[in-house]
């Protein structure tokens, strides 16, 4: 049924190796995609404590018999740490000037491409609505803006009126 040989500790060692290789691959990917960053991110540094802790916990749990539901709690903690490690790695990558530049360029390209398309689309919709004798979005927006301005004027009148009334009531002999 079961062969003699390496136990769970070796299994975890293999697991750890895989994780570290994955993180190193991630690090290589970052350095290739960003144009020679001044400080190379080292995501493996984040993995090591997480992995060490995970391996120790699991080795301890495997040594326990009989196992308790604590095992599931440990698994949840391991996942939390794993997510947190990824979060730090991503945060480090996104916190570089190269990432910010790359994102800015992508957004700029998107806007440059979107601007004429949006303009053409707006014009077409406007023409279609005009042909159907329906108000366009820009016309409705203009009406709404006028309403906002009117509301503002009423507010100002109200304020000056109440200020005048206040002054008048202060002047009245008691």
């Amino acid at each position: 049924m079961m062969a003699d040989g390496p136990g769970p500790s070796q299994l975890f060692e293999q697991w750890r190796k895989q994780f570290e290789e994955g993180a190193q691959a991630w690090s290589r990917l970052i350095t290739q995609t960003t144009a020679a960053p001044s400080v190379t991110p080292d995501p493996t540094a984040f993995w090591r404590p997480v992995l060490d802790q995970g391996v120790q916990t699991w080795a301890k749990l495997f040594a326990q018999t009989p196992a308790t539901p604590e095992l599931i709690t440990q698994w949840k903690q391991f996942l939390d740490q794993w997510i947190e490690a990824w979060s730090k790695v991503l945060g480090q990558a996104m916190g570089t000037e190269q990432f910010a530049k790359m994102m800015g360029q992508s957004l700029d390209q998107m806007l440059v491409a979107a601007a004429p398309a949006k303009k053409a689309m707006d014009q077409q919709i406007e023409q279609a609505l005009q042909a159907l004798n329906l108000p366009s979005r820009s016309q409705l927006t203009a009406v709404a803006k006028q309403l906002v301005e009117l509301e503002d004027r009423i507010d100002r009148l109200e304020e000056s009126l109440s200020a005048k009334l206040r002054r008048l009531s202060e002047r009245e002999p008691r």
Partner: protein, 372 residues
Amino acid sequence: MAQERFADVVERFTLGFAADAPAETIRQWQEELERSVRRLRNLHGLATNPVEPKTGQTPRVEIYKRNKSRLYRYESARTHRTPVLFVPNLGISRPYIFDLLPGGSFIEHMTKQGFDFYLLDWGVFGPEDNDLSVEECVTKILPRMARKVLETSETDELSVLGYCMGAPVSASFVASHPEIPVKNFINMAGPIDFAKVGLFGLWLNRENFNVDRFVDTLGSVPADMVKAGFKLLKPTMDLSTNLNLWWNLWNDKYLEGFQALNKWANEYVAFPGEFFRQWVRDFYQDNKLYRGELVMGGRPIKLERITCPIFVVGAREDYIAPPECVRALLEKVGSREKEYIELPGGHISLIAGRGAAVHCWPKVSSWLAPRS
């Protein structure tokens, strides 16, 4: 066989578990099994019959409206004379996060503590609001709201509590309107020194982000884009949220809170174009508020002109407004009485949720009470 198979390890483990398990362990596993059944039942309920959570239940009255903005006054057994005007962020999200559920509401806490509490709800903006600027908020909307608070509460002074973006906006208002008598000012997680504002500061700096092209092309910042920006700030957030949901899914109370919070977390609000342009350019890119170079409505905005007592609250794990950029207000104000505290939690959990009820709300109300 030289190497043990994974299946063998599992088999050895399960056999080991089953053998000689004491009664206590068996009871624990039974409990775990029950939890799993409850998880599945609640998951089924979530998928087939989602319940719309009832948020914002603290009774309130709308006392003033201006375009999309509303000023609400909350019912309270008023024991403090000075009213509190709460100014949250404009755009991004809805303010019912501050009155999420009974027993888990900042507003409910403040009213129970006897404060005459007012909330400025900036509203949900449409294309007709694209001309609304930070300047208009500071020089027109906020003074008007403050006057309405004074009028309805029949007092001569008020306290202003700014949260997130509401803090620098209301600090600009307090600094430039000495005719409005502000007795106390509280900054909760509001960025002041934008040189220390973290990832958003890097992404939005002048070299990386062309705000003019952005606003000129899109007109406003659509809600989906606001959402994308915040999701990018913490890409693993959804993963950990879902993991925690599964872990706590057996707990009906947790589920109720999750549904309310999840509703809020997925309801993003667009930014008016001109507001975003001025917000990014003057605050993020040029850090004008901190440098004292901001001018609004012809009035220079100098933080040193704020002389009332100041209370600043930073959150240790806040990646939207890191504590150091929030704390910076203390360096600039002219107040003699000023205090800073740093609490556990992130930008939202500072003010909403179970942790906030324990760590944050009592500190804010107990600082404000003797000064009100």
